[in-house]
Symmetry: C2
Subunit: 321 residues, 2 copies
């Protein structure tokens, strides 16, 4: 077994995305070799990776068996951050969700075993696998009854990771993320309240809030997510599923208050009727990650928001918006 300091060969599926690009940064900084797999023509969030000799961009489609097989070749550890669907829209076509995400992930596992990959670290969803919380904060042992297809395919992928570990000895770690936010998050996406709200406030646009804004979520700064991912590389205990969040609940109204404080701009709030699929509160219990991964979040919400806002202001200036 190689020591912690030896460079290893990583495959990052979804490495040009918001979280993936930060992960690639961290891996390259530690001197590892990184093969980044993403769809063709994904607008680069961190173009400087391409100039790093340890970085290789491998474009392909997650649902293509040949592309995945080629991407895995010669890799020691694979980070799986790909999803072909979003939580809300996944319910429109759950057959596609099963076909693309779950079948794609099981095929990935099958080929990872053949390719001799030692470990797979999978980004799951702390906001959807549990369904409606019976208690807050939510432990990893909470019942899992998702109310969206996205949550079911994430959960089933977790189960397949456990099965492949049992059958083939391939190591695995599952990180059930709360709501990540931070630099490089896309502000025109349909998910990510912090990014969407921050973008609108900086551009003086009105913000539509479903319900009265009392809905509570757990927001985690991207650098803390990457820290948990990096700690997963050397972890090898029996438990393999971890909640990764702040452990603290913040309402949408509090998010907007913080954004106003950080930016000095007023948030123009428009309250709309609530949506049936929004649970009133979702906060993760992060004791297991603290105990076993020796991980705790270092950046509180307002600190993270400051950094994100600083970056986003620059982006908006550059783009002339």
């Amino acid at each position: 077994m190689s020591g912690n300091g030896d460079p290893q060969r990583f495959l990052v599926l979804g490495g040009r995305g918001f979280i993936g690009s930060h992960l690639v940064d961290a891996l390259l900084t530690r001197g590892h070799y990184v093969r980044c797999f993403d769809r063709p023509h994904v607008s680069p969030l961190a173009a400087d990776h391409l100039s790093n000799p340890n970085f290789l961009l491998h474009e392909g489609d997650f649902t293509s068996e040949a592309d995945i097989e080629a991407a895995l070749e010669g890799c020691d550890i694979c980070f799986h951050l790909v999803s072909t669907t979003l939580p809300n829209s996944s319910n429109i076509d759950p057959v596609f969700d099963v076909e693309s995400n779950l079948k794609g992930s099981v095929r990935l596992l099958t080929h990872a075993v053949r390719a001799g990959v030692k470990k797979i670290i999978f980004i799951s969803s702390g906001g959807t696998v549990y369904g409606i919380p019976q208690e807050i904060p939510i432990k990893e042992t909470h019942p899992t009854n998702p109310i969206c297809s996205y949550g079911i395919t994430k959960l089933a992928t977790e189960k397949y990771l456990g099965l492949f570990r049992e059958l083939h000895g391939i190591e695995c770690v599952v990180l059930r993320l709360a709501n990540p936010f931070g630099e490089r998050q896309r502000i025109q996406a349909s998910q990510g309240a912090v990014a969407v709200f921050l973008g609108k406030v900086l551009r003086g646009e009105a913000i539509e809030i479903w319900g009265d804004g009392s809905v509570v979520r757990d927001y985690i700064y991207v650098a803390d997510v990457v820290d948990a991912m990096m700690r997963s590389i050397t972890y090898s205990g029996e438990e393999y599923v971890f909640n990764i969040g702040s452990g603290r609940g913040i309402s949408l109204n509090q998010v907007l208050d913080s954004i106003e404080n950080t930016t000095g701009c007023a948030a123009r709030r428009r309250y709309l009727p609530g949506r049936s699929f929004d649970v009133p509160a979702s906060v993760l219990n992060i004791d297991r990650a603290a105990r076993l991964l020796n991980w705790t979040p270092k950046t509180d919400f307002d600190q993270g928001l400051d950094k994100f806002a600083l970056w986003l202001r620059k982006q908006l200036e550059h783009s002339g918006v």
Copy 2:
């Protein structure tokens, strides 16, 4: 809503199989209309159904969208007993398992909603969805970490039933069966210890036992399974997942002892090394079904075995083996 006594239109997916054919009997006896969906050329276990004017055989493939869409048309309630894989062999090709069983089941649900089906009753697997038991007998709330792909696709199908109930109001019941046995069970199959052993004893063949025969399982007589299925038709409570077993554990050696008592023939036992994927004991806690479905098994193991042996002797005589 129609009363309990009014005939309804049922679709039974897998209606020519071991359990399905008994279910069809029970539905026809109560005066219901039954459309039986199964693959072409399945050797009929109960040919007399075809002479019943309320019975319609609808041959097709579960993985064909057009076949499933046509089968669902005009049906009130659907029993889903189809599986394209077996517990052990499912691990050989889990991608196929996801593609055929899970994707097929989610497509079934999608078309059931469109067809106006009111309820789906799904036969799940009490022997595989839980994985290695942490406590015996196993409650429905036990953690679910299957050690075969078959168990994962069953579990994911259960989750989709819950999701579709939430999103589209289609009712559902999930019956997690223990090991069913009884008349019409195939003795040349690769699963079903009671049937395989009984067949071998009646034909004087040696029986291969993996391990020392102390492995404990929960065996449930087929008429009791059908009773639980029939009670599921009118059930409409919030809980929808039920263990259906005897609630009692029997070792393989005890199964063989009982077979010797019932048949008066000696079982020629050959003990082989144990298999890693056989958990030492699996027994279901059936309190929830007793409380909410008002169901308890009526036939104990030896009574069920008597009936099965009587039927099987006749079959073997007829076939001249």
